[in-house]
């Protein structure tokens, strides 16, 4: 039986160092939930706490209503897929998959049927009598997945399972994992640092930084309506501009530092007249326009990428937030009327419906309806 997982104010410490200062999250039954963040953010630590391989220094983790803090890993009924696959090298593929079932004293014929079925689901039937050494990375990962799922665990935990595979295989396995998970309908917690992987595979994503969840939401919301600047720049690229709010009876407008005015209808109540803000514009949310209709800038470099062209832009320093790697504009070649050249001066208009606005320190969104935990 699949379960819901409640993480209630949990704390993880190594000696005096606090890795996770007190984290709360609720994972729904049957959901594909991804922990996404840069390395060292505590995502694997949290996963291993759920698995039972890391101790819990404070708070509680519950499977449905049962607190599991003190239940040892081998009694939690979890299925885990490891970054290194952790296929037992001395057992054949079939024996690896049977391992958990044997421990559960399953009758032989029932076990055979189950193993046959799962080998078929993950498409490794033809390799079942091989030793793992003679399998490719992708095949080993399928074995690991089959071995974890066949015991019908309460939750499936995956720790960067695709990071050792090459790019093409990663995409293939991604959809295979998603498919199998939906078929079996099992609560899954998935850890990755690859944002594309997270966006493509998850029901919901929790973006983590330094042991704190920055935002939990569906992939679409995470990308289009990030809760703060960290999320907006960690997932995809965002150009950050300095600006102010102007509010009057007619509506609200964000004013860029060079005086360009962008009327917006999506700002929340909180956005007040005169408030300093950060305006976040994604590279694809710009459109070339005529003088006065957008922000003025110069093309610094140009990279041709086939489907689109990526330009990096130079702005006057007072217009943009400091310490950004680059300000980018990507032009969709399918709709481009004019290709820019390096050195061109150009006017770009942000798409008012897509732009995100944050409070001046970047910690919170000023958009209507954006919440930290969706």
């Amino acid at each position: 039986m699949s379960v819901a997982i409640s993480v209630d104010n949990v704390v993880k410490k190594y000696g005096d160092i606090t890795i996770i200062p007190g984290l709360t999250e609720h994972i729904h039954n049957g959901e594909f939930f991804t922990l996404l963040g840069p390395s060292g953010c505590g995502k694997t630590t949290l996963l291993r706490m759920i698995a039972g391989f890391n101790s819990i220094e404070g708070g509680a983790i519950k499977f449905n209503e049962q607190v599991i803090n003190d239940i040892p890993a081998h009694k939690r009924n979890i299925g885990m897929v490891f970054q290194s696959y952790a296929i037992f090298p001395h057992l054949t593929v079939r024996e690896n998959v049977e391992y958990g079932l044997k421990l559960r004293k399953m009758p032989k014929d029932e076990m055979k049927a189950k193993v046959d079925k799962i080998l078929d689901v993950v498409q490794i039937t033809e390799y079942q009598d091989r030793l793992p050494e003679r399998l490719s990375g992708g095949q080993q990962q399928r074995v690991a997945l089959a071995r974890a799922i066949v015991i019908h665990p309460s939750v499936l935990l995956m720790d960067e399972p695709l990071s050792n595979l090459d790019a093409k295989l990663r995409v293939e396995m991604r959809s295979a994992i998603r498919e199998v998970q939906k078929q079996v309908g099992i609560t899954t917690v998935y850890v990755t640092h690859d944002q594309e992987e997270a966006l493509s595979i998850s029901d919901r994503i929790a973006v983590m930084k330094k042991g704190v969840i920055q935002q939990t939401a569906s992939p679409h919301t995470i990308y289009t309506r990030p809760y703060n600047i960290f999320v907006s720049t960690f997932i995809g690229h965002s150009n950050l501009f300095k600006g102010n709010i102007e509010a009057d009876g007619a509506g609200k407008t964000v004013v860029f530092a060079d005086g360009f005015r962008l009327p917006m209808t999506t700002l929340s109540e909180e956005a007040a007249d005169g408030q300093e803000v950060v305006i976040s514009v994604r590279p694809e949310e710009f459109a070339i326009c005529s003088e006065g209709e957008g922000v003025r800038c110069q093309v610094a470099t140009k990279v041709f990428l086939g489907k689109y062209v990526n330009y990096s832009l130079s702005f006057p320093e007072e217009m943009i937030l400091p310490n950004q790697p680059s300000i980018e504009f990507s032009q969709d070649l399918g709709h481009a009327e004019k290709i820019l050249e390096v050195g061109d001066t150009v006017y770009l208009k942000p798409n008012a419906m897509k732009v995100n606005v944050f409070i001046a320190d970047g910690s919170r969104s000023l958009m209507e309806g954006v919440v930290e935990n969706e």
């Binding site: 698995a51 039972g52 391989f53 040892p72 890993a73 081998h74 009694k75 939690r76 009924n77 979890i78 299925g79 885990m80 490891f82 970054q83 290194s84 696959y85 952790a86 037992f88 090298p89 001395h90 057992l91 391992y99 958990g100 421990l103 559960r104 030793l131 793992p132 050494e133 690991a144 071995r147 974890a148 015991i151 665990p153 935990l157």
Partner: protein, 549 residues
């Protein structure tokens, strides 16, 4: 290979190694087999020597004895070594580094010190025997099967320990976690996961133990008494003053080589069928035992290590005792040491001289042959690679006999020279350096050499300027182990030595036989201290805390 053959540096090295192995290993072995099939008196072809062996219980019993004691030693050593490695890797043990160093010292110490110390302790007039006798307790006899079993097990379990501890460190903790996530724990985890994972390693270690126990000459010679084993039998038949027993000894040696090579190939066959590779991203973490379990574990480990250190301690202690002939008397003195330097000074200098000469040859051969067999693979280097395994299966005394048989006559008269002893040391101890050299070569990317060549250095120059320099740490650590085992070599030297080429090991042996225990103890102390010094250098050079053999 479709490359045209060129008469370059590597061709010379290939030729040189084939000459060395051919002349000093293959040809003598061949000579041994030939003389085993020859009648002593007439020189005609005959199976008489073998018939002689299998007809008389006195002889074939030694084969049965060798087998039973070797098998028992191997089983015991596997159990003790594996258990020790398991607890030492997975649990916190107080004084771990001292324990590890003691284990390595007892492995590398001169082979027969154990036997001779245990005689001093538990022999007929041993310290413990006498002490117990005062209370009317009979100490069980230390001679024969039991004594050999005790001494060899205590000496050889470290092989298993070192091998298995290495393998345990290679088990990825994710494998253990995977087992736990599937619902497995406790003893079942050990049986279904950990044991199968280290089985190939245990088998490799068991082979080393078997070969060493089978070939050991000093221990059964000293403590075996009526319990005859093959190496002792071969030695005494060969040294026999009647002289015409050489052919019979050769036949026994041939039988022994047959046995060891059968075991060797059997082990390789089993291991190959079970082989898999392990690589550990995150080794298993050390835990702590608590309460009674913790106390029991510590008591067991300390007792074991204490028992294996007793021989060295007894030897060092008795070397400072006053002696009167073969009897230790009250009081302490340096007499034994003074006597060594007046009577046995050449044995001391010979030991260092021969071992160092052998080590230099071993370093050159080790590096070049390792390079040949890893980087210049061809059918010829494959043969060389196989030849380098031979010393593992040829007992020292057998190698001694083959060399003596082969180089006993003009124009190749080498017997009685220092050279023949050095040659036997090179052949016997090369594998240690060779293995560590190959291991490091497999880790070095060939592109480093290609880079050097692309910058204009010739292949030979590249080898000496780039490859050899990078190999050096690995080679040196192997060379030190080769050197340590060379200074402690007995079984081949005892057959090859003459008065002028006596080494310390041989001198200890002859002193013990003469019951001159004081000088034997002093010599052993010098050997043990040299071994420890060399080991300290080894740990500094390699930056490691373990030894691979």
């Amino acid at each position: 290979m479709n490359r045209r053959f060129r008469w370059d540096f590597w061709a010379w090295v290939t030729l040189l190694s084939i000459i060395i192995f051919g002349l000093f290993l293959i040809y003598p072995l061949f000579a041994l087999f030939v003389s085993a099939f020859q009648d002593a008196a007439t020189g005609a072809w005959s199976m008489a020597n073998f018939a002689h062996f299998f007809e008389r219980k006195y002889y074939y019993q030694s084969m049965i004895n060798s087998f039973s004691v070797t098998t028992s030693v191997t089983i015991l050593a596997v159990i003790i070594g594996t258990a020790l490695a398991y607890f030492m890797t997975l649990y916190r043990v107080k004084g771990r580094s001292i324990v590890e160093i003691c284990i390595i010292i007892s492995l590398l110490s001169p082979p027969f010190i154990g036997a001779y110390s245990w005689i001093l302790i538990g022999g007929r007039s041993g310290i413990l025997t006498k002490w117990l006798a005062e209370y009317g307790i009979d100490f069980p006899s230390i001679y024969g099967f039991a004594g050999i079993l005790l001494v060899l097990t205590l000496k050889l379990y470290p092989f298993i320990y070192l091998y298995v501890a290495g393998a345990m460190k290679n088990i990825d903790s994710a494998l253990i976690e995977a087992a736990e996530s599937l619902g497995c724990s406790g003893i079942r985890k050990v049986v279904t996961i950990i044991l199968p994972l280290i089985t190939p390693t245990i088998l490799a270690g068991a082979l080393m133990v078997f070969m060493n126990a089978m070939a050991d000459f000093g221990t059964p010679m000293l403590i075996g008494e009526g319990f005859n084993v093959m190496p002792v039998m071969i030695y005494s038949e060969f040294i026999n003053e009647v002289g015409d027993q050489a052919n019979f000894a050769a036949a026994m040696a041939a039988i022994m080589v047959l046995i060891t090579s059968t075991i060797f190939m059997l082990q390789k066959y089993v291991v190959n069928r079970k082989s898999f590779t392990m690589s550990s991203l995150r080794p298993m973490q050390m835990g702590a035992l608590h309460g009674v379990k913790n106390v029991i574990m510590h008591v067991c480990i300390y007792t074991l290590v204490g028992l294996s250190m007793i021989p060295q301690l007894v030897v060092i202690y008795t070397s400072f005792l006053k002696t009167n002939g073969s009897i230790f008397i009250e009081g302490y003195s340096f007499d034994s040491y003074i006597r060594i330097f007046s009577e046995l000074g050449t044995a001391v200098s010979n030991t260092y001289l021969f071992s160092t000469a052998a080590m230099l040859a071993i370093v050159f051969l080790g590096m070049t042959v390792a390079y040949l067999t890893t980087r210049r693979k061809s059918w010829l280097t494959d043969i060389i690679d196989t030849l380098t395994m031979f010393p593992y299966i040829i007992p020292g005394s057998v190698l001694g006999i083959t060399l003596l048989l082969a180089f006993n006559e003009e124009p190749m008269l080498l017997s009685g020279t220092a050279l023949i002893i050095i040659i036997s040391l090179v052949i016997r101890r090369l594998p240690y350096t060779l293995r560590s050299s190959s291991a490091i070569l497999y880790q070095l990317s060939p592109s480093l050499e290609e880079a050097s060549i692309s910058l204009g250095a010739s292949p030979v120059k590249t080898f000496f300027k780039v490859t050899a320099v990078m190999m050096l740490p690995g080679v040196m650590s192997g060379a030190i182990i080769s050197w340590i085992t060379a200074i402690n070599e007995l079984s081949s030297s005892v057959i090859l030595f003459t008065g002028a080429t006596k080494t310390m090991s041989v001198a200890i042996y002859t002193e013990v036989i003469r019951a001159s225990y004081g000088t034997a103890a002093a010599l052993s102390t010098i050997l043990t201290l040299t071994t420890i010094t060399a080991m300290v250098i080894f740990f500094k050079v390699s930056g490691r805390r373990d030894v691979t053999l």
